[in-house]
C-alpha cells in the first residue's frame, strides 16, 4: 500500500534520483491542504451508513425488480449483503482519500471484484448505479453542500479534493463495469 509520499518515492527510485524541489513542492501542497483532507474523510466516515443506505435505496427505487422474488436484493439476506458491499466499497474509497493514493482501493478492494460479482451473479449495472449515487453523496459531503448535514467548519475551496474523491468512485465503476 502506498500514500502520496511513498508514491513519490517509488517514482523517484525508478529513476535512481533523489526527490527534488519540484516533487517536494507538490507534497507541500498536500501537507498544506492536510486539514481539508482530514475534514473530508471525517465527513464521509461520519455519514457512511447514511450514504450507503441512500445509494442502495436509490438503486432499488429505479429498479424495483431487485426486491421482488428472484431479484438480486430479495430476500433480506441478499439485501443485507448488498448494503455490506456498499459499505466496504465506501470504506476503501475513504482509505484512498486519506492516503491520497488509489493503491489501497485497487489492491484490497477492486482487484478481482468484477470476477467475484460475475461468479455470484450480481448485476453490474445496478452496482455501478449504487456506486454512482454514493459518489454524488460523497462529493456533496466533501464540498459541505449536503443540504441537511452541513458541518460547521471553516470553509475553503475543496474542488480538487472533490474531484479526487469522484475519481476514486469512477475507478470503482470502471472496475465493476
Amino acid at each position: 500500500m502506498l500514500d502520496a509520499f511513498s508514491r513519490a518515492v517509488v517514482a523517484a527510485d525508478t529513476k535512481t534520483a533523489p526527490i527534488g524541489a519540484a516533487e517536494i513542492a507538490e507534497l507541500k501542497t498536500f501537507i498544506a491542504n492536510g486539514n481539508k483532507r482530514l475534514d473530508a474523510v471525517n465527513a464521509i466516515s461520519s455519514n457512511a451508513s447514511c450514504i450507503v443506505s441512500d445509494a442502495v435505496s436509490g438503486m432499488i427505487c429505479e429498479n424495483t425488480g431487485l426486491i421482488q422474488s428472484g431479484g438480486n436484493c430479495y430476500p433480506n439476506r441478499r439485501m443485507a449483503a448488498c448494503l455490506r458491499d456498499g459499505e466496504i466499497i465506501l470504506r476503501y474509497v475513504t482509505y484512498a482519500l486519506l492516503a491520497g493514493d488509489a493503491s489501497v482501493l485497487e489492491d484490497r478492494c477492486l482487484n478481482g471484484l468484477k470476477e467475484t460479482y460475475t461468479a455470484l451473479g450480481v448485476p453490474t449495472t445496478s452496482t455501478a448505479r449504487a456506486v454512482g449515487i454514493m459518489k454524488a453523496a460523497a462529493v456533496a459531503f466533501v464540498n459541505n453542500t449536503a443540504s441537511k448535514r452541513k458541518f460547521d467548519v471553516t470553509s475553503g475551496d475543496c474542488a480538487s479534493l472533490a474531484a479526487e474523491t469522484a475519481g476514486y468512485f469512477d475507478r470503482v465503476i470502471a472496475a465493476v463495469s
Binding site: M1, D3, A8, D13, T16, P18, G20, I24, I44, S45
Partner: protein, 164 residues
Amino acid sequence: MKSVVTTVISAADAAGRFPSSSDLESVQGSLQRAAARMEAAEKLAANIDAVAQEGYNACFKKYPYLNEAGEAGENQVKKDKCLRDIKHYLRLINYCLVVGGTGPLDEWGIAGQREVYRALNLPTAPYVTAMTFMRDRGCAPRDMSAQALVEYNGLLDYVINSLS
C-alpha cells in the same frame, strides 16, 4: 511502504472500520511534522553530490590504507563505487525524509546489507566514518533549520547503527 498513513489504514482495515477520529489525529500529527522533513529532503537533494563527496573524502583521509593494492579503494573504479554507495545511502535518506519513516532505508538499503558487504569483502568502518562526518558537518541554520537537521541527523544515525 510503511508510513504513518499506511499504518493507520492497515489497522483500520484489519478492524473493518472507517478511519476514526484518533486515526485522523495520528495523520494530522505526522503532517504537522512534515514541513521540517520536506525542508531537509529538499536541501539534501539540492546538494547531494557535494555532501557525498565530503563524506567520501573524509573516509579516505581517515583510512589511507584503502588506496593500497588489494584494498577496497585500490583503483578508480572501486573508488567511484564507494562514492556511488555513499550517494545511494543519501538518496534513501532523502526518501525516508519524504515518507516520514525508515521504510525506504529498511527495504532497499539495510535488508541484506551485511551479507553483501561480507560477500564482497568490503569494510564497513569507512562507510561509518563517511556518515559520521556528514552528520557532524551539518549545521543549523547555515544548511537547514534546526528541526530539519534533527530529522536528517536521526536518519544518518540510523544508517550508522545499521553498519556498526
